[in-house]
């Protein structure tokens, strides 16, 4: 039987606010345990939450970016459960009335196809603290620095049909939250986390199969692996006569499998109810308009502009606008050249991307700056270095972070453009190769390339190739 996979993702994006969602504590990652936890975060008796308006602004920003219906009135609810790193015994979330409903994100599939993934809802909620199990003998440590950090939970419709689509959606969402600067997207620090709802059904069937929720899939690779494992597990289970049960499963990154955490019957009854400590959250049109006026350029608009302003192809444009950091890198590099749009694009898509891939690095972490790459482009442009030697300069820049001019000087890579100097080399090549010269003059045209090669070699690659061609023709 042919099976169809159905996937929906729940993403928790940590919002870039300085203070927590309901207290004034700082949100900086990596501080010493419990140094960023005040009375409110500790859930001391008598404390009360006060909403951080900045988190609301960031949620609205996301709503505008995905075309969501921004709710004039939303509300906060309590999700009740016991866990040592949940100080109040409940998490403040938006269960009944989320701030955002609807919206969508377009994803790119292979062969240039695109698909729209719909968003069900997105809501504000506070994060829990962290339990530390491995540092204390027979005890668990509780670090409440993260408790109360603002999250936007973004819930997609079950619109994805393969792990590749799920990864494409997750990447697009990841790029978007960074584009609009509401989340730093750091997956290692847990600032962008994902749970996947996965089910299978016979192809053509309308009803959804029973889904499993897979927790803890916190990298693009893990999402892919976890979904693929889970799909195979469910299909094998059904084909061998079993049935999929609704449950929460944990992805084990080490083993690459998923295992049952708790079945539906064991699931907590969270006893959601409106948090009486917080009045309804009202958003008015003036607030939305202020945010709209300050919206950064979104990926689609940026692509259109790149294609027009920098005369790029759709392919080049998409690569260069894939992330905010990439687009910024390109624009800064181009600005350091005299409109060398294509050249710069080629270098970023070619050399730079290859180098990044090799080291599994993001562009933000590149050891050379956009300005430096632009400076190198400028040196190609003004014939200081040849395109070929520029690659040597680039490698050195990558390795040392030095300025291209410094490298060119230190390594003596400056291109020879002095006609007399090139002619002198040509004369020497002719003198060293009398036979070939004779044959060429006798009509063996193919030997032209030989002479070009010899001249370039004799100049250690520094002679300007165009001039070499031109002068050779003249002299031969």
């Amino acid at each position: 039987m042919e099976w169809e996979t159905v996937i929906g993702l729940e993403v928790h994006a940590q919002l870039n606010t300085k203070a927590k969602l309901f207290s004034g504590s700082a949100t900086t990652y990596g501080a010493a345990p419990n140094t960023q936890a005040c009375a409110v975060d500790l859930g001391l008796p008598g404390v009360l939450p006060v909403l951080n308006k900045e988190a609301v602004n960031l949620a609205i920003k996301f709503g505008l970016a995905v075309g969501a219906d921004i709710q004039e009135k939303s509300a906060f609810d309590r999700k009740n459960y016991f866990y040592p790193d949940l100080p109040k015994g409940y998490q403040i979330s938006q269960f009944f009335f989320p701030i955002l409903r609807g919206g969508s994100i377009d994803i790119e599939l292979e062969e240039g196809q695109s698909k729209t993934i719909n968003i069900t809802r997105a809501h504000l909620e506070e994060d829990a603290g962290k339990s530390v199990h491995d540092q204390f003998v027979k005890n668990t440590g509780i670090d409440l620095n993260r408790a109360g950090v603002p999250l936007l939970e973004i819930v997609s419709e079950p619109d994805m049909r393969s792990s590749a689509e799920a990864v494409a959606y997750l990447k697009a969402l990841h790029a978007l939250v960074k584009y609009i600067d509401i989340c730093n997207g750091n997956m290692q620090e847990g600032s962008f986390r994902c749970d996947a709802n996965v089910s299978v059904r016979p192809k053509g069937q309308k009803e959804f199969g029973t889904r499993a929720e897979i927790k803890n899939v916190n990298s693009f690779k893990f999402v892919e692996k976890a979904i693929e494992y889970e799909v195979a597990r469910q299909i094998a289970l059904i084909e061998s006569g079993g049935t999929v049960v609704q449950e929460t499963r944990l992805f084990d990154a080490q083993k690459g499998d998923t295992r049952s955490m708790r079945a539906k019957e064991e699931a907590n009854d969270y006893r959601y109810f409106h948090d009486p400590d917080l009045p309804p959250l009202k958003v008015d049109i003036a607030m939305i308009n202020t945010i709209k006026d300050n919206m950064p350029e979104l990926p689609a608009a940026k692509l259109t502009r790149f294609m027009q302003e920098y005369e790029l192809t759709d392919y080049e444009g998409k690569i260069l606008t894939a992330s905010k950091a990439m687009a910024e890198f390109y624009e800064q590099a181009v600005a350091a050249t005299d409109k060398k749009y294509k050249l710069t694009a080629n270098w970023i898509i070619g050399e730079l991307s290859a180098a990044l891939n090799k080291e599994a690095m993001e562009i933000e972490d590149a050891p050379l700056t956009a300005k430096q790459l632009g400076a190198l482009m400028h040196r190609i442009e003004d014939n200081t270095v040849s395109n070929k030697l520029a690659k040597t300069v680039f490698e050195e820049m990558w390795a040392t972070g030095k300025e291209p001019d410094q490298i060119i000087d230190e390594k003596g890579l400056r291109q020879v453009t002095d006609t007399a100097a090139i002619e002198k080399i040509i004369d020497q090549v002719f003198a060293d190769n009398p036979n070939q010269l004779e044959q060429y003059r006798a009509g063996k045209d193919k030997l032209f390339g030989f002479f070009v090669g010899q001249v370039m070699k004799a100049s250690q690659g520094k002679a300007n190739p165009d001039q070499v061609n031109e002068l050779l023709k003249k002299k031969l």
Partner: protein, 484 residues
């Protein structure tokens, strides 16, 4: 000194008839002498109080001195006090020293008052008799075999015994008014949002409201003046201009329209209580008030509604008491579940556990719609009925409680019977409006309270009526014989 009103004490201090140290020492002496009989004080901060009194004496009379400078008071042990044990009368918090002050505490301190300590109450404010306290019940000074009411029973009993010039209480379903009635003192439940809940340990957040308890409505006006006001730390606190309560209560009440809900004055009402209330209403009429019958048709639903909403919120509010970060923790837990189960089973008393269970049940996914959701709808209905009534009248009057103080232990076996005693008070919390209970007479030598209910932010109106009534009556000046 101890029978004087706050206003008289302010004058006495300013005239240097006595110092704040003398006044404070006088009350501390009374606490030492009388409190063993009534068990109202959980934590006494005598040393600190006398130091503060000495500091107050240095500024009394100067223009920098706030209005209540040097006035000794006591706080219900539900308000967090920095560096002082804040127990909520629970074993769970018996070892808890608050690292911060409740807004009510800091506001009263800023107004010049001296805190002498913390008062007994029902555990986590759950109870109507003070018998649920981990520290044992407070006793009613009018009859030591009777309860003082609850949950602010310690506050009411301490006022009746004249152990301080004023006190604070909290009211979720009648917890300032019913003990005030049982002990023959004045207790106010302000409009929800008028007094900050920051630092006031939550029982049912949408109903809880702190308020003053003292011997007269004028004393309450003094305390409320200091306690009220917007607090950015409490999102449910309301930005509302605070009137001059002291000035407002002095107005004559001629023409004041007082409504009597027919649902409150049925044949079911105890005839002796009815007689006292009737006499009090006549007194108000003599002062120029106009009496009118009003109707609150769904008021009979207030108690079931209250006993769904309050436990629901309490079950969630009390989840934080898990032994992880502070408070009671069980010994030698086997695992996490055992840790939670035993910490909470051993740390909470029976009534608290009962309400947590009720609340957990009504919020569970299978009961939510039929209980909690429905209760919220009824709550709105009741609030609207009050608002409709206030289109016709300025104040609504009723008994505060359907009976006088009962014997200790009398209702221990029947919690529902105890719950039914909130009949006149809990609807006020559901509606979020203010009400005051004032002494209006005696039945069987025990005080009877008259409740005056006002519209939103009409504290001036109800305190005004109460004060005018107290100017022509002396019920509030009665002191139990053993505590004169």
């Amino acid at each position: 000194m101890h029978t004087k009103t706050i206003e008289q004490l302010i004058q006495g201090l300013r005239a240097k008839e006595y110092s704040s140290v003398e006044l404070t020492q006088h009350f501390l002496d009374r606490i030492a002498k009388h409190d063993p009989a009534i068990n109202t004080v959980i934590t006494l901060t005598a040393e600190q109080a006398l130091q503060e009194a000495a500091a107050a004496d240095k500024i009394i009379g100067s223009k920098d001195a706030p209005n209540l400078t040097g006035i000794p008071i006591l706080h219900k042990d539900i308000f967090c006090t920095q560096g002082v044990k804040t127990s909520c009368a629970s074993k769970m918090l018996d070892n808890f020293i608050a690292p911060y002050d409740a807004t009510v505490v800091s506001k009263l301190r800023n107004a010049g008052t001296i805190s002498m300590g913390k008062l007994n109450m029902d555990e986590f404010a759950m109870g109507a008799s003070n018998e649920t306290s981990f520290y044992g019940a407070s006793k009613n000074p009018w009859d030591l075999e009777c309860v003082p009411g609850g949950s602010s029973g310690g506050s009411a009993a301490a006022m009746a015994a004249r152990l301080a010039a004023g006190s604070t209480g909290t009211d979720t379903g009648g917890s300032t008014r019913q003990p005030a009635a049982f002990c023959g003192i004045t207790g106010l439940k302000p409009t929800y949002g008028l007094v900050s809940r920051w630092g006031m340990i939550a029982y049912a957040s949408s109903l809880d409201q702190g308020g003053p308890m003292a011997i007269s409505s004028e004393c309450c006006a003094h305390l409320l003046q200091a306690m009220a006001g917007f607090d950015p730390k409490d999102s449910t606190s309301v930005q509302h201009e605070i009137p001059d309560y002291l000035a407002d209560i002095k107005r004559p009440i001629k023409g004041l329209k007082i409504g009597l809900p027919k649902e409150f004055f049925t044949e079911k009402l105890d005839t002796n209580i009815a007689k006292v209330i009737d006499t009090a209403i006549k007194e108000l009429e003599k002062l120029g008030a106009v009496i009118k019958e009003v109707s609150l048709p769904n008021i009979h639903l207030a108690i079931p509604t209250y006993y769904i909403i309050a436990p629901a919120e309490c079950s969630s509010n009390l989840s934080r008491f898990d032994g992880v970060r502070y408070g009671y923790r069980c010994d030698d837990a086997k695992d996490l579940v055992d840790f939670y189960e035993r910490t909470r089973s051993e740390g909470f008393g029976t009534e608290v556990k009962r309400r947590i269970l009720i609340g957990t049940y009504v919020l569970s996914s299978t009961s939510f719609e039929s209980y909690y959701r429905k209760a919220q709808k009824v709550r709105k209905l009741i609030a609207n009925e009050y608002l409709n009534a206030f289109k016709e009248v300025d104040i609504i009057a009723s008994p505060t409680a359907p009976e006088v103080a009962f014997k200790l232990g009398a209702k221990n076996t029947n919690p529902v019977d105890m719950y039914l005693r909130d009949i006149y008070t809990s609807s006020v919390n559901l509606a979020g409006i203010p009400a005051v209970s004032i002494p209006a007479g005696f039945v069987n030598n025990l005080p009877v309270g008259l409740q005056l209910i006002g519209n939103f932010f009409a504290e001036s109106t109800i305190l005004n009526a109460a004060h005018q009534y107290q100017l022509v009556t002396d019920w509030h000046q009665q002191v139990p014989t053993a505590f004169v």
